[in-house]
Symmetry: C2
Subunit: 367 residues, 2 copies
Amino acid sequence: MAEIAVSRRVRRTPFSAGVEAAGVSAYSVYNRMLLPAAFAGLEADYHHLKAAVQVWDVSVERQVEVTGPDADRVMQMLTPRDLTRIAEDQCAYIPVVDCYGGMLNDPVALKVGEDRWWISIADSDLLFWVKGIATGMNLEVRVREPDVSPLAVQGPLAEELMMRVFGSSVQDIRFFRYKRLAFNGRNLVVARSGYSKQGGFEIYVEGGDIGMPLWQALFEAGHNLDVQAGCPNLIERIEGGLLSYGNDMTIENTPFECGLGRYCHLDAGHDFVGRAALEEVAATGPDQLIRPISILGDRLPSPVEIWPLTQDGQPVGQVTSAAWSPDFNVNVSIGMVEAAFWAPGTELEVHTAHGPFQARVEAEFWG
Amino acid sequence: MAEIAVSRRVRRTPFSAGVEAAGVSAYSVYNRMLLPAAFAGLEADYHHLKAAVQVWDVSVERQVEVTGPDADRVMQMLTPRDLTRIAEDQCAYIPVVDCYGGMLNDPVALKVGEDRWWISIADSDLLFWVKGIATGMNLEVRVREPDVSPLAVQGPLAEELMMRVFGSSVQDIRFFRYKRLAFNGRNLVVARSGYSKQGGFEIYVEGGDIGMPLWQALFEAGHNLDVQAGCPNLIERIEGGLLSYGNDMTIENTPFECGLGRYCHLDAGHDFVGRAALEEVAATGPDQLIRPISILGDRLPSPVEIWPLTQDGQPVGQVTSAAWSPDFNVNVSIGMVEAAFWAPGTELEVHTAHGPFQARVEAEFWG
């Protein structure tokens, strides 16, 4: 594969020095910023993530900060999820849709103060959408990207490592909740969350200057926990059914197609962009749905483009993410499948870059 | 440097097969799509671009299509440039700013029909901004990304090659104007434009299916013109003073700081987002300005982050793009310099990743 070309436009992070010292071997670009994609290798990283603890530079989860008297109103315009039900210390996964109900992003929203929100984004310039809506509606808010770079600590030993750096109160943080904890005299948002199923935390590092001190503190505290630098792992996240915006869903998909209907509180009656479109989909149900799909046979390389799904030669959907799972001994994948074919056990054919393979719709993800 | 990790999220283009067969050695990511960054190497590509003709996959210049009864109004809301002065066949470089006058993108707008525009974008999700403004203002337009992927033909032999494929009428296309020319029975927008100073054309390839046929037709027609696959060249574009959004300017900069004041038609009186902010800047003039800067001494590697500029130890600006120029035998660079220091001939110090170097503000770019 080709090298990655870098410049200021593809932004480095507060942790890049640590990431490179740890031997990053592949990078992706996410929100116009470097995202480590492999260190020892996809499978070695995978086994280690499930056994020990990793520190992930996920600075690419940029924040959109919304502040001002109309902040709550703007936030509610963005999503079908009823934000009045969100607790003060909650991390709220919110589908954000356009006027056609198409997914623009699937971020996590945190109310970090009175009239002050952070939206921790997936891979699209949600800042432009929020700013555009606020400007177009003439609402009184300031929308900007603050100097906040999340660092994730993931894996079965994550809690032990976090306690060594932040103290025992990390134990009291419930899943998808956060507390403010001190590091270097700064109070950081620390949430029990992250893009793996192995358990762990995300530290919203406010101020790039404390990035490397925190990185080093974690590695020093974890020297006897086999702590290593890692990154979101393709195999593990497919096993766990963690969706990736841009891979498994795009602006062409509604939240219902993505299995996010439970976050569409249409009965709440609040005003949001896309309400009419989503009500229409809700009335009939989606025509296609994201499903776990096993691809049978030998180990396949992961796709760089969609792989079409057929049954008896007729198109019925597409695989959007796939990887060989050493633990489940099968090619695990995520796909979008039409209604008549999404029942568990349905046998399909998938047309990969390496030829056609038999595939099966599963009842559940693997993780 | 690390490899680039690919997936559906980092989109391939209609020309990727050709690019890879031609031996792309480095990729960047631009608008969440693969952008070739080198073939034979930065300097070899540079010399060839100035001597012959290259075909560039610039699919990453995605189009934002705005259609509908309010299309003209939405377009005019986006930019201080007075679009009523734009001719039917014109390519209009337009600064797009937010309510603070900060640059969101510096695209080229084409009126491709009645109530129908294409905006050929730099590296930010301008679609989200346009859609947000239109949605927030409740305007009657459809905003979408069409299946259009620009292919550039650049270099001194570009016109000769284009004539062989599109006929002699390519000669009649004036600079930053376009014609519709036939290929494979389709009428494509062909403009005399492109991200180099060597002359050439951009073909707005409508329909990915004709991407590789056109690629092949160009290479077959140009076999005795030394046609090669190429890409925007860092050295050549710095010599020519071609700015790069994300590198040389960001949302933190006004058009005036970027030297784009001539596109700010504040006297035209039209309504656009950011008018109040830009009027304020126009009244006093910008505090800093993009300038050509020579970095003296030996050949330097190109920066991956900004390089601070100082005079007598005081910060006075930053270098945002730099490369060794074989033709001018100096490190050419683009920087943002404060008012008191931007006069041609001003001697500064630049703090590179490789130590401090003497630098000099130039009167003109090199190309």
